[in-house]
Symmetry: C2
Subunit: 543 residues, 2 copies
C-alpha cells in the first residue's frame, strides 16, 4: 500500500474523471457568476475541506478536489478559493473574508514590499478612513471617477451627520489635506509615505480577491519639488512592483503606460503592470500614478522654493492590493488546483508521514520531527500533517490542491535508509519524484533549497512562455478582432483617437491594457488609422 | 563652542523658564479639552517642528520644546504629540492621522505581538468591516453597549441601502457568523485567529491615541470545546499583554479582572491590564474577554462533540490598540518631552556630528558614517542628523523631546581620539554623559547595547516606583475618597453591590479598574459594607 500511495495522486483518479469539489454536490451556490450577487446564505464554502466532510467521508480520496482548470477556469478559480480555504464570502454582498491561508499569501506580499518601500525612502503612517464628502468633489476628474462607487456614512453616534462621510475609496484627497499642513518649504520635500489599509469601492460586479467591495492594499503617496522627481518616483515604484512580480510571484507582468481613457481619475499618467491570467484575460496587478499638480492645485498644497517662490507640489501615488493574490492564483495552477511560487507560499514543504503498523509510528514520527526541525532552522516554511484521520493519499491530493510547492514523504523504509522521498508540485507524475534523498541535514537543506529555487524559476518560465505564445502582433483592426476573439492579447501600433479606443472596446470587449515600456524598433503605422504611430499598445479583455 | 554645545541642553535654557511650543504662540487651537471638538481647521500641529519654524527661527534653540510635564500634564501630552510629530488631527472630528514617528511605535508593538500570537497558535486573517445592522442586535448586552457608538453606512453606490451597515466597532458578531459556517465538529476546535484592523466608535470625548473615532488594533477571536479551554486562552492572552507591557513598553501594568459593571458588552468575564499614567490616572491598556457562550448562542455556533452531542462553542476575544501608544507617551517622559523605552523606540540612538570649520567636516562625517554602519549592522536603530540648518544644541533638544534613548556626539577631537561622547535620555545632565567611549566597533556595540538595556530596565523601575508610591491601601470609604481626591489609586477589599460601585463613581469619579490577580493574604472586610470580601479591588480615575 505504501508504494501505491506514493504514486502521484493524479494516477489514482485521473483529473478529468474526478467529481468536482464535494461541496458543489451539496447544492450550494458557489459558482456565482461575477455579476451575480454573492449568495451569503449558501456559502459555507469554507467548510469544504474542513470538518463535515472530514467526518462524513473519512478516508475518502476525492474531497478537496476542484473542477479541472482546463474544463472551466472560473469554476476552478472559485473551487480553489473554497477548497484551499483562501477566502470565503462575507455576509454583505461583494465582501470577502480572507482566511488564514489566503491571508498568509498577502502577508508574504506585504513582507517583501514593506521592506522595499522603506529602502526607497518611504515611511509608513495612517490616515483616517472617513473623508468629508466635500473633499472628494475638489478634484474634478477624481469625483467623476469615484462618486458612483462610494460608501457613505450618514449616521454617527445615533445622529444624522451634518456632513456626510465617504469611506475612503483611495486617499489622495485626505492625504493632500494633510500635506497642505505639513509642507511649507522645499526643505520639507520630498515627502514620501505609505499606508497599509482597507478601502471600499461599491463595485457591482465582484469576484473574490479580484474585485471586492472592501479590499486591503498599500497606497503610497509622495510630494516633490519638480515634475521630474515625481516622474522618477512613479517609475521607481512601478519598477518595484515589476521586480516583485517577476522574482517573487513568478508573474511575468508587462509594465507600461495606460492610455488616457484608462488613466486614474486625477492622474496625469498612470503606469501599470499587466498580467496574463491562465484564461488569457488581463489583470491590472498594480499601478503607479504621476498625479502632476492636480491634487496640489485642488488642495492648495504649496511650497516655497529656493528662490522664495510659492509653487504647487508634484505628486505620485501607487498601490498594490489583495487583488494580487487573485493574480497569483490565476497565473499558476493546473487541473489539480493551486500552484504557489515557493517565495510566497505560506507552506513551502509539507511532510507526510507514512506508516501502517502501530510499531512503525514511533520511528517514523521521530524522523519526521527531526526533518521538520532541520528545515525550520534553515528558514524553510514547513508543515507536518500527522493527522490520523486522513490517508497519505488524501493528503497528497489535498496539499497539491493547496499548491504547496514540495512534498516530503517519510515511511519506515526511508527511516531505515536515512533518506526521504521528495515530490515537486509543478512536475506531475514520476518525473517530479526523487527517491532516496539523504536525510543528512546539510544535504537535505541544500537539496530542498535548490529544488525550491528551481520550482520558482520554472513557474516563471512557464508563465513567460504562456504569455508570449498568446500575444499576437497585429497590423490591422481585423487582425486585432481575430486575436481577441481567440481570447489572446493583441499588440499593435496605435495613435488613434479616444473614440476609436472606445469603439474597439464596444466591438471586441478589449481595452488598451498599456503602451508597454518595451517597444519595438522602427517606424510604425497605427493599425486603426494608418497614421504614423510612436508606440505599440496591448489590447486585451481584462478582469 | 563645541564644548558648550555638549552641555545638556537643559542647562542652556532651564525647562521651567522655556517658552512653550512655538505653535501655541501662534494662536492655534491645540489644547482642545478632551471633550471639545477637535479643531481641524486650526490644527497645523504637525508643522510645529517642521518647515515654517525651520525657516523662520533657523538656528534657534527653543523650537520643538513643549509645556513642561510638571506644569500641565495635558498640555504636555498635546505638545509632545505635535512637536514630536507623532500624530495630527484628521479633518473629521475625533479622527487622527498617525504620523511616521508615531506609527513606527505602533509597528514595534505589532512586530512583537504578531510573533507571540503566532507562537501561541493563532493565524492572521481578515473580516470585512461592514456588518449588517441586524448582527449587532443579536447579542442583547452587545447591542446595548455598542449601539450608541456606531457609524452607519446607509448609501452605497449612490443608492439607499436596504439594510444599513455598521462600520465595525469590534468584530464578535461577524466573526461568529463565519465561525458558524466553519465549525462543525470538535475536530475543528480550537479555532484561533487574529486580525489587525481599523475599528470605529463614535466617541464624543476624544483624545489623540487614547480615544479616537477610528483606531487601529488587533482583535483575537477563538472558539473552544470547553469553558476551561476558553478561560485558559483568555488568561494566556492577558498574560501575553502583561509580559509585553513590562518587558517592552516598560509599563508596569496591573493585570486583573473587571467588575461586572465594567465587563465588555457580551462577555462573561473581562481581564484587563491597567496602567498608571504620569498624571496618576488609570489607562485600560488591553483586555481579554471570556465570552462564554453568549455569542455562540446568539449565532448558533455549534459543534458535534466526541459523543455526538451538539454543543455551543466557548469563546474568547482580546485586543490591544493604538491607545497603547498613548499609554507609552503618558507613562514615560519628563519636562523636556517624550522618553521612549529602547525596545520600542523607532530611533534608539541619534548621532549628532559636530564641526565648526569646513575642513573638519570631512573627517567627522567619515567617522559618523563608520559608527552608523557599525551600529546598524549590530541591529541598533540609528539615525544620523547631519543637517546644516540646525545647530548641534538644537538637535540635542529636539531628539530629547522626541524621546530618543541615546545620543552620540562626534566632533574633530573625538575623531582624533577614536572615541565618542554618549548621553542617556533618561539621566539628565552630566550624570547621563560618558566621554571617551571607544569607537572600536565591538567595544562600542557592547557599550551601547548594555546602556540601552540599562535604560530599558531603569524606565520600568522608575514606573514601578511611581506606581507603587501612588496606590493607597484603604479600609474605609472615607480613606478611598481621600486617596482619590489626591489623585491616587485606592486599593481595598470590596464585596459591595453594583449600586455601591455606581455611587463611588458618582461621588468620586473613580471606578473599579480591576480586581488584581495578585491578592493579599488573609481575611478581608469590604471597606464599604463591612461584610466579608474575597478580594481587594483597585479604584481610580481613568482615561
Amino acid at each position: 500500500m505504501a508504494s501505491l500511495l506514493r504514486l502521484p495522486s493524479r494516477l489514482l483518479a485521473p483529473a478529468a474523471a474526478r467529481p468536482a469539489a464535494l461541496l458543489r454536490h451539496r447544492g450550494r451556490c458557489l459558482h456565482a457568476a461575477p455579476a451575480a450577487r454573492f449568495c451569503a446564505a449558501a456559502t459555507t464554502t469554507g467548510a469544504s475541506a474542513a470538518a463535515p466532510a472530514r467526518t462524513e467521508t473519512r478516508g475518502g480520496d476525492r474531497e478537496g478536489q476542484v473542477t479541472p482548470r482546463s474544463t472551466d477556469f472560473n469554476a476552478w478559480y472559485t473551487d480553489v478559493i473554497a477548497a484551499a480555504e483562501l477566502a470565503d464570502y462575507g455576509p454583505v454582498r461583494g465582501t470577502m473574508v480572507i482566511r488564514p491561508y489566503g491571508y498568509a499569501i498577502w502577508e508574504a506580499i506585504q513582507d517583501y514590499l514593506n521592506v522595499k518601500f522603506k529602502e526607497t525612502g518611504h515611511s509608513n503612517m495612517y490616515f483616517p478612513q472617513f473623508i468629508p464628502y466635500s473633499f472628494i468633489e475638489k478634484e474634478a476628474s477624481h469625483v467623476e471617477g469615484f462618486s458612483p462607487e462610494l460608501a457613505v456614512v450618514t449616521i454617527g453616534g445615533g445622529k444624522e451627520l451634518e456632513e456626510k462621510l465617504v469611506v475612503r475609496p483611495t486617499s489622495e484627497t485626505i492625504v493632500n489635506h494633510m500635506f497642505t499642513k505639513w509642507i511649507q518649504s522645499y526643505r520639507d520635500l520630498p515627502l514620501m509615505i505609505n499606508q497599509w489599509a482597507n478601502v471600499t469601492r461599491w463595485e457591482m460586479r465582484t469576484k473574490p480577491f479580484i474585485r471586492t467591495l472592501e479590499f486591503l492594499w498599500q497606497e503610497g503617496h509622495t510630494a516633490h519639488a519638480t515634475l521630474e522627481e515625481a516622474e522618477k518616483e512613479a517609475m521607481q515604484m512601478i519598477n518595484v512592483y515589476t521586480k516583485f512580480s517577476y522574482e517573487h510571484a513568478a508573474i511575468p507582468v508587462i509594465p507600461g503606460r495606460k492610455s488616457k481613457r484608462e488613466t486614474f481619475a486625477g492622474a496625469d499618467r498612470t503606469y501599470t503592470i499587466e498580467a496574463m491570467m491562465g484564461d488569457k484575460k488581463a489583470l491590472q496587478a498594480g499601478t503607479s500614478h504621476n498625479l502632476g499638480q492636480n491634487f496640489s492645485r485642488a488642495f492648495e498644497t504649496q511650497f516655497m522654493d529656493e528662490s522664495g517662490q510659492l509653487e504647487h507640489v508634484w505628486q505620485t501615488s501607487w498601490a498594490i492590493s489583495t487583488r494580487f493574490v487573485g493574480g497569483i492564483i490565476m497565473t499558476h495552477g493546473d487541473d489539480a488546483g493551486l500552484m504557489l511560487p515557493p517565495r510566497i507560499a505560506p507552506i513551502q514543504v509539507v511532510i507526510v508521514p507514512i506508516w501502517k503498523k502501530g510499531e512503525e509510528k514511533g520511528v517514523v514520527m521521530e524522523a519526521v520531527a527531526s526533518v521538520e526541525n532541520t528545515l525550520k532552522e534553515a528558514g524553510i516554511r514547513v508543515k507536518v500533517d500527522a493527522s490520523e484521520l486522513r490517508t497519505p493519499g488524501w493528503k497528497f491530493n489535498f496539499y497539491e490542491m493547496k499548491g504547496v510547492p514540495m512534498r516530503i514523504e517519510l515511511g519506515p523504509r526511508d527511516v531505515k535508509n536515512r533518506s526521504v522521498v521528495i515530490s515537486r508540485r509543478d512536475v506531475p507524475g514520476k518525473q517530479g519524484k526523487e527517491f532516496g534523498v539523504s536525510m543528512e541535514p546539510s544535504t537535505l537543506v541544500d537539496h530542498i533549497k535548490g529544488r525550491l529555487e528551481e520550482i520558482q524559476a520554472s513557474l516563471l518560465q512557464k508563465a513567460i512562455e504562456f504569455r508570449d505564445s498568446n500575444i499576437v502582433d497585429v497590423s490591422s483592426y481585423g487582425e486585432l478582432k481575430e486575436a481577441i476573439a481567440e481570447g489572446k492579447w493583441a499588440r499593435g501600433p496605435w495613435s488613434a483617437s479616444d473614440a476609436d479606443e472606445l469603439k474597439v472596446k464596444e466591438e471586441t470587449s478589449a481595452t488598451i491594457r498599456c503602451f508597454p515600456f518595451e517597444q519595438p524598433e522602427g517606424e510604425k503605422k497605427c493599425f486603426m488609422t494608418g497614421n504614423p504611430a510612436d508606440e505599440v499598445a496591448i489590447f486585451a479583455k481584462s478582469y
